[in-house]
């Protein structure tokens, strides 16, 4: 943790492994006046009688990676899953407050949840490829949303998505093999390709690398870094080095409250709140 704090101080968070330095970068200061991609205001979330999110207000800006950190059970996954209304399928949940995406309230009655979920893609903690071929996994979203007109177009989109997820070279010769024959890291990149295929604007990632070995993790992180040029990314992570490496903005959750959100460098070097500092320096959590 200390080491990481120092790296962050230097202003250049780096990917692990000296041979493959992540490109040096400056976090772009989000202009508070500019329109956020996602604007969450006063979000309360209940599982039955339990309130798991308490008055969360957060703006998420386009083409940035926003990391959500915090100890287990702090509500960060619930928060993430409320952004594409994935919690709707859990019985007994209730939402208060508002979540606007491009200024539109996603919990408004007129919103089509199915369309919302196409626009807000999601990658899960445990890779969950369908028991189909590699090709069919990526084509699935395109087929159900009727996004392609011809076989050629479908094939092209599948290829482009696999390339975007940095998986194409490894699977190009066995597109029709079962997706379950891939390694864990490949499966997770397949799930990313599958999410990218339906052209979402926002990509939600729920601890996408927590079940992977360090090398596979590094590949996912590099991918996240590349993808932010085209997507708005929100990533939940338990790994603070990872948050420091991949994100521009970090939001710290604790007991269902958003304690602090700021530029990642600032969160890891000079957080405003004592609680944040204790957490990122490993004093608890």
């Amino acid at each position: 943790m200390l080491l990481n704090a120092e790296a962050a101080k230097a202003g250049q968070p780096r990917a692990p492994g000296a041979d493959s330095p992540a490109p040096a970068r400056e976090s772009v200061v989000p202009n508070p006046e500019s329109d956020p991609k996602i604007a969450v205001a006063g979000l309360n979330f209940y599982y039955g009688p339990n309130r798991v999110l308490d008055g969360v207000t957060l703006k998420i800006h386009p083409n940035q990676v926003t990391a959500l950190i915090g100890p287990s059970g702090c509500g960060k996954s619930t928060f993430l899953r409320s952004l594409n209304r994935m919690n709707d399928i859990v019985p007994g949940t209730r939402v208060e407050g508002s979540i606007l995406i491009d200024g539109q309230d996603i919990y408004a009655p007129s919103v089509d949840v199915v369309d919302l979920r196409r626009r807000v893609g999601m990658v899960f903690q445990k890779s969950n490829p369908f028991p189909k071929s590699i090709f069919e996994n990526v084509a699935y979203g395109l087929r159900i949303n009727r996004m392609t007109r011809s076989r050629e177009e479908l094939g092209g989109r599948v290829e482009a998505s696999l390339k975007a997820a940095a998986l194409w070279d490894e699977v190009r010769d066995r597109l029709h093999a079962s997706a379950l024959s891939l390694s864990g890291g490949q499966q997770q990149r397949l799930c990313i390709a599958r999410a990218l295929a339906v052209e979402p604007e926002i990509l939600l990632m729920d601890e996408p690398a927590s079940a992977l070995d360090p090398i596979a993790t590094q590949r996912i992180e590099e991918l996240v870094y590349q993808l932010k040029d085209r997507y708005t990314i929100v990533i939940v992570t338990h790994n603070m080095q990872q948050a420091a490496r991949v994100s521009d903005v970090t939001a710290f959750f604790w007991l269902g409250k958003l304690i602090e959100s700021d530029l990642t460098n600032k969160i890891f070097t000079a957080p405003a709140e004592k609680l944040t500092e204790d957490y990122v320096t490993g004093r608890f959590g």
Binding site: M86, K132, I144, L180
Partner: protein, 281 residues
Amino acid sequence: MSRTSRRKLLSALFVGFCALSVLLALVPLALILFFVVSQGIQSLNVAFFTHMPAPVGEAGGGMANAIVGTLILTALGSIFAVPIGILSGVYTSEYGGTRLASAIRFAADTLNGVPSIVIGVFVYGIAVLPFKQFSAMAGGLALGIMMIPIIARTTEELLLLVPGTMREGALALGATRARAVFSVVLPAALPGIITGVVLALARIAGETAPLLFTAFNNRFFTTKLNQPIASLTVQVYTYANSPYADWHRQAWAGALVLVSIVFLCSIFARLATRRLEAMRG
């Protein structure tokens, strides 16, 4: 005796009793197979499969009509039961929290426990009396009603084994709930469901009681669905009750064919499951 050796002895005794119970449970199966095979094989010949029953007093003849009848009846039963069973299984697993789902589950368990003769009488009331005609259709309906709860419960249990993350993955791509179930969850559980269906088939292929007042029996060959039809089980029952030694032999042969059908179904179910699972890698 030391404490440890006493515990070891108790453990050995317990394992011994378990093994003995298994043996006792297998004895009836072994005896059934032994008698059916040893008695049935003597009268089993090509004529048994290709010939019609011989008139009383004449030796020989076969059960061609009953074999075809059993196949038709089980096929009809599946046509009724497979769609309804699978769909209600989908409902109870995917909408499991609702009251209707618990009601369906309870109804399926109750239906499963209803004696088969009662189902036969019920179908007699709704599908035989109104038409004043025993029919293959009525027999198939009775068998179908017996299959529905088995298939529904198997489907439900297998769908619940499919990880929830699979559903979420489909929903997150913009699939509707129904789409997620039919394009991802159901295919994932398909090998198991096929096994369940085939085992249900094997189970109802051996039913006699529901057919007694529905399909009745037929001395003649028919494939008409609105006519009474023969079946192996009813034929075996009739022949075994008869006073003729030749018919007794034929009954044994019929029993052997029935047991073989059930056996083949089980093997087919296993193979199909393995094939499908291998295809998925």
